[in-house]
Each structure stands twice: as C-alpha cells, then as structure tokens.
C-alpha cells in the first residue's frame, strides 16, 4: 500500500482521472481532425505505448506544445510533456530539411546577419516566397522576421565598461531573436535596468535555448545546447552569484522546465535565479526601487499572455508592471493561443490551422482596438502583427518608452 502512495509516475501520468477537461482547451483539437487530442495523445496513449511502442501515433507531431492542457488539468498531469517525451522516444524519422532550417535559429542568424540587407530583401521577394513554399513547404503567406545587420551581443560588448559601473549586476540571456532580429528589445531592457541602477552583462557565450529543435525532432542537438547553456548559466549564477534575466517567455520555459523534464538536463542549482525580466523588475519595485515616468504618456494597451507565460504563471508580473505606468489604459485579452507556436505556423501544412486557432484572439484585438498589443513572446509578435495589422511590443519596450531618464 505504501508503495502505491509514494510512487510518482513519470510526468504524473497515473494521476489522470479521465475527466476530459483538457480536451476542451486544446487549440489544435478545435481545428485539426487528424490530431487525437491531449487525453488520447497524452495519458491514454502512454498506457498503450508502455505496453508496445507500436501504438506510437505519428499524429502527435501536430501538438503545438502550448501546454494549455497542463494549465487546465485539475490533476497535475504533465500532458504536453508526455506527448513531447513520446515524440523524442519513439519518433526516429529524420527531420526534413525545412524543419532543420526553421529550427536552427542560431545558425541561420550567424549566417544571415552579416548580409542582412540582402537576406531581408530576398525573403520579402515574391519569387523567394514562392520558392520557399514550393521547395521547403514554408507557407508563402508568412512574413519572415528580418535580420539586423549588427547583433545585440556586439552592441552590448562595446558598452561593457559603462555597464560595469553599476553596483548591482544581472546577466541577460537575450536569445536568438534579440541577438539577430531585434536588438532594440535588448537595448530597451538595458535602458530600464540601468534606470533601476542595475548593470547588464552577457553570459559567457549563450546558445539557442533549443525549443525549436525539440519540436522539430532534433532533441540530440537540443540536449547539446542545453548542456552548453547550463554551463554558461552556472558560471553566472553559481560562480558570480548573478541572477539571469530574459525577455522571451519560450526561452525561459525551455530552460526552466524542458531541460530537466524532457531533455534530462538538470538545472536545480540555477532554476530559481533564471527569471523573466518583468518579474525581476516587479520584485525590485515592490522592494522600494522607483522608476520615473514621463508626464503625459498615454497608451491603450491590450495584453496577450503567451502560452508559455501562462504555463509559468508569470503573466501577472507583466500585467502589474503595465498597469503601474501612469496613462496606460489596460485590457487583459482572453487567454488563448495565437496559433503560431514557434516554427509550427511557418510550415505550409499547418498554416490554415495556425490561423484558425488564432482567429478568436485576432477578433478580440480588433474589437478592443488598442494603440499597441503587449506580449512577451517573439513568435506571437510575428503572428499577431501579420494577422491583425496591430503593432506588438514586449512589455519591457513599453516600459522603456514610458520612463523618463534624467
């Protein structure tokens, strides 16, 4: 009897009581009849797969890994982890060239950045889009994020002396997006943290968190990156006693949760020090730090909580920070997936489903008609901007715009 009481099954799968609640919240199940849904793909399927791997269903690849099933499950079953772990364990098919390209954000960034103007021009060309559509099955209706000619890393490196002046220091895991596509977000973070008296340093060489590799069947490469990043994080956290902040909810979730749960890379010694910058800033303000805001600032903001932020349960920090800014008119959008899920929506076979999933969110944004949509995820940004025409900003960038620098 004691055994049964103290045994915890992997990903909590034996806790499932078959209540079907998760099926009501899976965005894919609503639009794709080929997908068996979280209950079947997760705990139900796991029982069969444990008997015989023959029961592995390739349709599991349609899972977005949005984790909404886990957030809804009243029994604490890690449904999405079960599904992703099954894909890692049983799906040995080689990833397609297209998937490898989409997943290699790091590599692509390094190659594309020096020739950014050319790459940006080329990916915007109709003929390139047609070619990518035909050859690689990357949907032609997608807008590719553009590459920045100068990386964030090189920008910050040139400022390391002025950052070192601050007594309090944090390290910043910027991620591929800030480094290659949108250094401005990193600059905004530095501006806000400096205003709080905190200097920003880079990690000793970070790599892509690996999220896109996990979902694209490249878990070995993902584990390699995980081990590399853990070493870099340890240097900052354990050796230097720093906290590490981030501006992307998906990178953060990946490093905090997916490393130990899916890739088997332990992070217990650094996990508590790895925070979204909005949480870090909120906690500083709560302890008495102050920011000076511009007089006459006004913005109507609709905040979308990205799926992975919802899973971490930290949307509240971004929300409270935005509400704190004088002159902000705030609306919390209904919790829903935008449909892009990283590289998922870029694939031709997923394009229609991706747009159908996001439809309710896009409609609500149009009804609210904000000046700007706030969101902590870069791929949601592409999706919402492309689908609604509204500008999407990271809460950190909004904060940077609202503060007065003496």
């Amino acid at each position: 009897m004691k055994l049964q009481e103290y045994t915890v099954s992997k990903h909590n799968f034996e806790e499932c009581m078959k209540c079907t609640v998760c099926t009501a919240y899976c965005p894919v199940l609503q639009v794709n009849p080929l997908y068996p849904g979280p209950k079947q793909a997760g705990p139900d399927g796991e029982r069969l797969r444990l008997k015989d791997p023959y029961f592995f269903n390739y349709a599991l690849k349609y899972c977005l890994n949005c984790k909404r099933c886990e957030v809804a499950c009243p029994s604490g079953v890690n449904v999405a982890d079960l599904i992703q772990a099954a894909r890692i364990k049983y799906d040995h098919s080689k990833p397609k060239l297209r998937d490898t390209i989409l997943a290699s954000t790091d590599f692509m960034g390094t190659v594309a950045r020096p020739v950014a103007p050319i790459v940006n021009g080329v990916t915007k060309l109709g003929i390139t889009k047609s070619a990518m559509d035909a050859l690689l099955r990357i949907d032609r209706q997608r807008t590719f994020p553009s590459y920045s000619p100068r990386s964030f890393e090189s920008w910050l490196k040139r400022r390391d002396k002025e950052q070192a002046v601050f007594q309090e220091q944090v390290a910043y895991f910027h991620g591929c997006y800030v480094n290659y596509n949108y250094p401005q977000l990193g600059k905004d973070l530095v501006k806000v943290l400096n205003a709080l008296g905190v200097g920003v340093q880079l990690l000793e060489k970070e790599k892509c968190c690996g999220i896109a590799m996990i979902t694209n069947g490249m878990s070995e490469q993902a584990s390699k990156n995980a081990r590399h990043n853990m070493a870099a994080l340890r240097k900052a956290v354990v050796d230097k006693g720093l906290r590490v902040v981030t501006t992307s909810s998906s990178c953060t979730l990946t490093m905090r949760e997916e490393y130990p749960n899916l890739l088997g890379v332990d992070n217990a010694d650094v996990k508590d020090s790895l925070l979204m910058a909005t949480r870090f800033i909120f906690e500083k303000l709560e302890k008495g730090a102050t920011l000076k805001f511009k007089a006459g600032f006004h913005k109507k903001i609709a905040y979308h909580v990205p799926c992975h932020m919802e899973k971490m349960g930290w949307g509240v920090f971004s929300e409270k920070l935005l509400r704190m800014i004088p002159g902000v008119e705030f609306t919390l959008l209904d919790s829903a997936c935008c449909g892009i899920a990283g590289t998922y929506g870029f694939k031709k076979e997923n394009y229609a489903a991706s747009q159908a999933i996001g439809a309710a969110l896009f409609d609500q944004i149009k009804t609210v008609n904000p000046d700007v949509v706030a969101c902590d995820c870069e791929t949601c940004k592409w999706q919402i901007e492309m689908s609604t025409g509204y500008t999407v900003m990271n809460p950190i960038s909004i904060l940077a715009e609202a503060i007065e620098i003496e």
């Binding site: 080929l34 009243p74 604490g76 930290w314």
Partner: protein, 379 residues
C-alpha cells in the same frame, strides 16, 4: 505580491467569492491548480429552494441568466429530479409530464447523448417518443476522430451552424409538441439556445450529455471574465503548496509557479473543492487538507468511508474540513483568524448551506460578507 484577499481554488465558490469582493473594491487574487467541477455542472442548483436576489444579480452582471421555477428537471438518463433554480437554458417543469409527444434528436456519430434511455424514461411518464439522427456535412470533420465527437467540440461547430439544426428539426417535426436536443449550444454565443427555441415551433428542451458540460464551461468562462473585468487576478494553473502562519493568522501562501514570491493578504479563502479537485486528499490511512492542514471530519474506520453499492450515497462525500459558524477553518480545534473555507471542501458537514453548487454559492457569499464587515487595509 499583496492583496486584500487571496482565494485558493477558482471554481464556482472561489469565483463567486472573488466577484463579490472585487465588486466592493477589494483587490483579490485567485490561485487555481486547474479547471474545476463546473465542467461537470448540469446547470441546476438543486439545493436552493429560492432565488437569492444577490445571486441572480451577480450572475446577471456576468451575462448568465438564471431561471426560477420550483418543479423538476430532466436528468441525462431520463429520470427527473426536484429543482427550483437553473441556468436559463436548462428547463424546469411543474411536473415530469412536460409534453404529449417528444421528438428526440441526436447527431450521427455522437455517443455521449443517451437518446434511448431518455426515450424510455419519458415513456414511463406517459409521453410518446420518436428518436431521429441528423447528419450535417459540417460535422464530418469531427467524426474522423472519436475523441473530437465530444460536447465541447460539437458546441464550437454549433455556435456557427445552429441555424441548420433548426432547419433539420423543422423538417423532422411532425405532431410532436416538444423537441429534445443535446446540451451542446451556446458555448461562446450565449444567445444561441434562445434563438433555437424561437426557431422551432414546439417546446425545445436541452438535455444533459456526458462531460464536459457545455453550460458548465460557459458559466466558468463568463464568471472568470467578469472577475477579470472587475480587476481580479486569476492565476490559472498554479497550486497553493503551503502557508506561513503566525499565532493563528495566515500571512502568505507559497505557490508552485511563484516559488519564493509569496502571495500575501489580509484574508484567505480556501475554496479548493472536494476529493475530485484535490482540496481533500485521502490515502489508505487518513484524510487531510493539504495546504493549511485543517481539521477534517471523517470516520476513523476506513471501511466506513464507502458503501459497496456503487450508486448508494457514499459516506465519504459527507466528509469535509471543520469550521466555526462563520466558516473560519479549524486547526486542532482552534479557528484561524483570517482563513475561511467555502464550497465543496466543506463536504456535507454544513447542511444548512445546502449541497453542491448551492453550497458553493451560499458559503461564498457568507465568507465575503465576513471579510467585507472588516475594514479594508489595502488601497
């Protein structure tokens, strides 16, 4: 983070308490491990014999209309149960014989609606029944995967194509004076059940399906939205692990997602549900309340916890946490000064508050009133 009141559990009890407090300007947060018993809610408040004005107001402001008419309601298996108050789209009849002839309509391939049991039950009451299936091309997609033929998936489609159902039913209808349809309408668009009733020239009755319950999920969504519009902070998917308590006063709780960031408050409400929701936990030896370690009322003899007859009233359903008259939770017999227990975590131990959904609503109001009677500290 500091609030006036932190509520643990975001089901019916937690949401009603949260809305009542937000409405009076108290800043609250709700922490909820996951979704809740509303997903199985049939849509009637059997234990309430009247319709308290403040309840109809609170639901009305959230966009949920209630319907008061003492009588009986139809159960999913064709039996009837006494009830006086329900969601607007759940019918209440003065007596079980609500029609002469009934047309029961189901969708092809949908197995979570028990048409033949319903027919049997209605025929016992002297009503004649005819069962018909309809097949809409829009539902072919759903049929490809059996896990999709569930109430919620169908309801999503029905929000768009309900007019076709009306047309089909009108064609099938002969001399029946009532039509029975599965409860799969009005998930997002709450006007749909009413429009269907208008469109069909017979009395339209929506009967329960297997879970998830469409009217229940709709109720959950609307109450949550109302709570958030009033400025409440709903932390979905987070779990209260334990509390910091000093001399009978709760100062803060620790949650799974916020780890070392504690939720502080002047008042705490425990609305974490029964065994189903893990508000109460049992193991082969005892029954506990995991967050505060409140005293639990239960029989020490484990064999007395259950009745072997599956459908009998199970004794464990009566078990719940102990409180004083004003719902303060007890630990070793002594009340916490600022902790209230509401909803199904009370078990059947407070019969004066009713049972099930009625208990959730009434105890939520009662706890909110005690909190509101105390001065507000926090702006």
């Amino acid at each position: 983070m500091k609030f006036d009141t932190v509520i643990i559990g975001g089901g019916l009890a937690g949401l009603v308490a949260g809305i009542s407090l937000q409405r009076e300007g108290r800043g609250t947060a709700i922490v909820s491990t996951g979704q809740n018993a509303l997903h199985f809610f049939s849509g009637t408040f059997e234990s309430l014999t009247e319709a308290p004005q403040r309840m109809t107001d609170l639901f009305g402001e959230a966009g949920i209309r209630l319907h008061y008419r003492p009588g009986v309601r139809l159960m999913p298996m064709g039996t009837f149960r006494e009830s006086a108050l329900s969601l607007e789209d759940v019918d209440l009849f003065p007596s079980p014989e609500f029609a002469r002839k009934v047309l029961i309509v189901n969708f092809m391939g949908y197995h979570d609606f028990f048409s033949s049991f319903l027919a049997e039950g209605l025929e016992k009451q002297g009503m004649q029944c005819r069962i018909r299936l309809i097949n809409l091309p829009e539902m072919d997609k759903l049929e490809q995967s059996p896990s999709e033929m569930r109430s919620v998936q169908i309801a999503r489609t029905m929000d768009r194509i309900w007019e076709k159902v009306v047309q089909e039913v009108r064609v099938l209808l002969k001399d029946e004076d009532a039509v029975l349809l599965p409860q799969v309408f009005g998930l997002q668009d709450t006007a749909v059940p009413g429009r269907i009733r208008q469109g069909i020239p017979a009395r339209v009755v929506f009967a329960g399906t297997l879970p998830p319950s469409v009217p229940g999920i709709r109720t959950q969504m609307l109450l949550k939205r109302r709570y958030e519009v009033l400025g409440g902070t709903y932390l979905m998917g987070d779990e209260a692990l334990n509390a910091h308590v000093h001399e009978g006063v709760v100062h803060s709780i620790v949650t799974k997602n916020l780890d070392n960031h504690y939720l502080e408050a002047d008042h705490f409400i425990l609305a974490s549900g029964g065994f189903f929701s893990k508000g109460l936990r049992s193991n082969p030896f005892n029954i506990t309340e995991p967050v505060f370690g409140l005293d639990v009322e239960y029989n020490q003899d484990r064999n007395a916890w259950y009745d072997k007859a599956f459908s009998a009233d199970q004794p464990y359903m009566q078990y719940g946490v102990k409180t004083d008259e004003t719902l303060h939770g007890l630990s070793d017999g002594k009340p916490f000064k600022n902790l209230y227990a509401i909803g199904s975590i009370l078990g059947g131990t407070r019969p004066e508050l009713g049972s099930g959904a009625g208990l959730a609503v009434r105890s939520a109001f009662a706890a909110a009133d005690v909190i509101l009677s105390e001065a507000k500290n926090l702006e």
